[in-house]
Amino acid sequence: MFKRHPATRSTRSRTLLSAALAAVCLGAAGSATAVEFGQVQAEKSTLTFVSKQMGVAVDGKFRKFATTLAFDPAKPTQGSARLDLDMASIDAGSKDANDEVVGKAWFNVKEHPQASFVSTSVKALGGDRYEAAGKLTIKGKVQDVKAPFTFRQDGGNGIFDGYFTLKRLDFAIGDGAWSDTSAVANEVQIKFHVVAAARK
């Protein structure tokens, strides 16, 4: 295996290289073989988060959110995504917590029933890694966020997995007495797992 003849190896890599070049040229020319993933499969996608209470990680999730996206791995920079979250569908880990977080001090769901993320740019980080930058709006407050993600194909589906960390106080999530970060940490990690089929 390691003693493969050097000539074989270089021939092989030359073939690979020309194939790659061809792919790039075709891509630039707007080839019909490029696949754009955009048919989001809501029931297979998840939006979860981890908050820290008294140093203990507590898992939560949003049961209802809508994702609109367009992503072609051959043209990642043209990709775009939008997430709309139904804030009332939050599950913060327990009934007590759920009753609490919809209230004024936390998400104030009555006045702000929706939160959203709208991408402004996507860049390739190499390999299967990418990064989406965009605007996150929660409780009427807007912040720039960058979310690294991986993309892989599984049959006809594209699978996006990524995360980012936000500081809840930047959005006034849990203000007043709850701004005490020794009880509930400021950092909250958001994780998304989105499955989208190729558009035909």
Binding site: Q53, M54, G55, V56, A57, V58, D59, G93, S94, K95, D96, A97, D99, E100, A177, W178, D180, S182, A183, V184
Partner: protein
């Protein structure tokens, strides 16, 4: 000759744990009625941490007891009192294990891991399961009521021996009374 008193270590552990358990019990009763707040999260954590400390101490105490048998009960007790005293002591040990254990399992089932003093994570022996969590909460609460009832009997018996029978039952469990030996 067989000793008539508990060892100093046994006495120390008895009273240290008595303070810790009664304190944890009181905090438990107080905290559940609080409105959700950062303070409530903190006091719940302290309740758990104190309970876990008691859980560790009871094993230390039992290990010490295994190597240093307690003195025989004061002489001349009716048979039923001997049985009641031993039975009660064993039940108290059992509850000193079962109560924190039920608390630990309840926390796991409710999806809140116990991290001792915010530093040492205890493994979650149960996966998150809301119904099981509620069931274990009921178990934790009823074990505590049982504990309160047994403790009342335990304390009443100790005081009765001291005040009515005027025997050495209480003094031999009290610290700093070495001269009574």
């Amino acid at each position: 000759m067989t000793p008539k008193r508990y060892t100093r270590t046994a006495i120390g552990l008895h009273w240290l744990m008595a303070l810790l358990l009664i304190g944890t019990f009181g905090v438990g009763l107080y905290m559940t009625g609080l409105k959700l707040s950062p303070f409530k999260l903190k006091i719940y954590s302290w309740h758990k941490w104190a309970g876990v400390a008691a859980f560790l101490l009871v094993f230390l105490r039992l290990a010490w007891r295994a190597g240093h048998r307690p003195p025989p009960l004061v002489a001349g007790l009716p048979r039923w009192q001997e049985i009641a005293a031993h039975g009660l002591h064993h039940l108290l040990y059992l509850l000193m294990i079962a109560i924190p254990l039920s608390g630990w399992l309840m926390s796991s089932a409710k999806g809140f891991q116990t991290v001792w003093f915010g530093v040492l994570p205890l493994p979650d022996l149960l996966a998150k399961n809301a119904e099981l969590g509620d069931l274990l909460q009921t178990v934790h609460v009823w074990l505590n009521y049982g504990f309160a009832a047994l403790l009342a009997a335990h304390v009443a018996a100790a005081l009765k021996h001291h005040v009515v029978d005027r025997d050495d039952t209480l003094t031999r469990m009290l610290p700093l009374l070495e001269k009574n030996r």
